[in-house]
């Protein structure tokens, strides 16, 4: 434990929750205002990357194991495709959200919400994977 980065540690501890909450806000407010999965995913990943820069890669990997993050990449894509396929199962075209609920406005809401969630998960985990990939190089030869 080094002492000279105490300021960083304290401030990052104070900031990271807000970064995460902001990411969630951008994610779930994306239907009504500017925002959405891409931006939210990057912000969320930035929060974790910030954490790992301050507390070290190993600690970050304990919180978000690379294997789990890789699974998340696939899960996000699967969520996206599944929502698209729901359109087909409910008798319309691929990615047609209107049929997801009793009326088309609700359907559109559910559809875009789930698809953006998929996008957000994938972007978050891809960003983190890229970070792990580069940060892990040359540490343990």
């Amino acid at each position: 434990m080094k002492n000279y980065d105490r300021v960083l540690r304290v401030i990052s501890k104070a900031m990271i929750p807000f970064i995460m909450v902001f990411a969630l806000y951008v994610q779930f407010h994306g239907d009504y205002g500017p925002g959405g999965g891409f931006q939210a995913g990057v912000i969320l990943a930035a929060g974790l990357i910030f954490y790992s820069l301050i507390y070290g890669l190993e600690v970050a990997k304990k919180i978000a194991p690379p294997r789990f993050i890789e699974l998340l990449v696939a899960t996000g894509v699967l969520l996206y495709v599944m929502v698209g396929l729901m359109g087909i199962f409910l008798g319309s075209d691929f990615l047609d959200y209107s049929v997801l609920a009793q009326d088309s406005v609700h359907g559109q809401h559910y559809g875009i919400f789930l698809v953006e969630l998929g996008v957000g998960i994938t972007v978050f985990s891809v960003m983190l994977t890229i970070f792990y990939m580069f940060a892990g190089r040359g540490r343990n030869p």
Partner: protein, 496 residues
Amino acid sequence: MISSQLPALQIIVPLLAAPFCVIIRNSRATWLISVLASWVTFGISILLYLDVQTLGVISYEMGNWAPPWGIEYRIDSINVFVLLIVSSIGALVSLYAYPSISVEVDENKHYLFWTSYLLCLTGLLGVTITGDAFNIFVFLEISSLSTYVLIALGKNRHALYAAFRYLILGTIGATFIVIGIGLLYLLTGTLNLYDLSMRLGDMSLTQPQLAALAFLTVGISLKLALFPLHLWLPNAYAFAPSVATCFLAATATKVAIYLLLRFAYDVFGQSQIFSELPLGEVLLILSIAAMFIASTVAIYQQDIKRMFAYSSVAQIGYITLGASFASHTALTSSIVHLFNHAITKGAIFLLLGLVALRIGQPTLKKMSGLGKSMPWTSAGLVICGLSLIGVPGTAGFISKWYLILAVLERGWWWLAFMILASSLLAVIYVWRVVETMYVSDSDSRGDSHMASTTSPTSMTLVAWLFVTSCIFFGFHTSFSVEGASAAAKVLLEYTK
């Protein structure tokens, strides 16, 4: 219900299979998933082909948004033909792949290989099936990015550098394509290809139109490895794993050629642009240069995979030569050669994959005496070589025959002569392979690399399926020529 969803499923099946490969990770299981997905995809494109025969044009509205606002998948006789080529080769190559991959790619990277392969398949099919200009770019990048990964998975360290060079050039090409599409969007306000061609036809010719065509042509030419822009191709093909080489050689450049045809004949077909811009002449000169220079370079190669990669550049020259003049026979020859070259090159790289299992990276030196140690594979290589040259009785002959017919229709005897002369160059490099395999003394250089003494049955069967189809389509031309002829007819109708 399901039959109306086929165009979407064509893309979704491999796209859905890719994340499953990441989740499962087990080498054999991911292979099985890929094989299954590839065959389902192949089945779907057969059904689509049959549908197009009866219906003419299929239009599919993504998310039920009516074109030109939404993304439209638009399938006519030309892209269904390309879909069929890509998916059939994907299906067969995936079946062939397992033993080869387990030797040539690290065990813990197999799932990465299969994920990339499925994404590449998705991208290539997507480029072909979509009727939306920006969608083309997105799918093109999906396929390109996964291609870079596939190439970089080669065990030789030069694979990394080859992948990097391809990444740089491929990205420049794709960016040129986006600039071209952007200019078209600014001009017309639409991204739907069909709508674009209508609106460009109504428009008077302006500078941005010329710029858009120029950017698109250069970008696509980079992707299809038209002669002076082919520099990424030889090393990429030479160092990628055999399976990846085979899949890419048989499909990736073909899809880019389809894009060229689509833009030149369909999107710009009704505009007066070609009276201003001598695109046909430029293409003609570059194609002739490709036929001669790339074949000549191929003669001097030691590495067999690289030799046939240069030969690919030369063969692409024949395809673009047919595309450069707008007559029915010429376009037919171009599209037939698209198909015939895909199976011929596919067969060659599959056989080389078998050779690579025995002796490692196949070079001329190591292949000496192969006629004795691997008689069947060598015989297959000879047959494919004949098809590359264009000897009667092989698939290659059919496309060259139509090409020469098209040239003679124009009365260009000199060009017919040049086509024959460049085929002689192909004779030389094929002979170099045949000579090393059969004539030169068998030395035991290869023995130290002997990984196995017998070739896996599945691989041999698939490779020979390709080899026999090289001969089959040399005699039985009803599928290839009729499909190509229908496609050419559709393309020429757009230009009216």
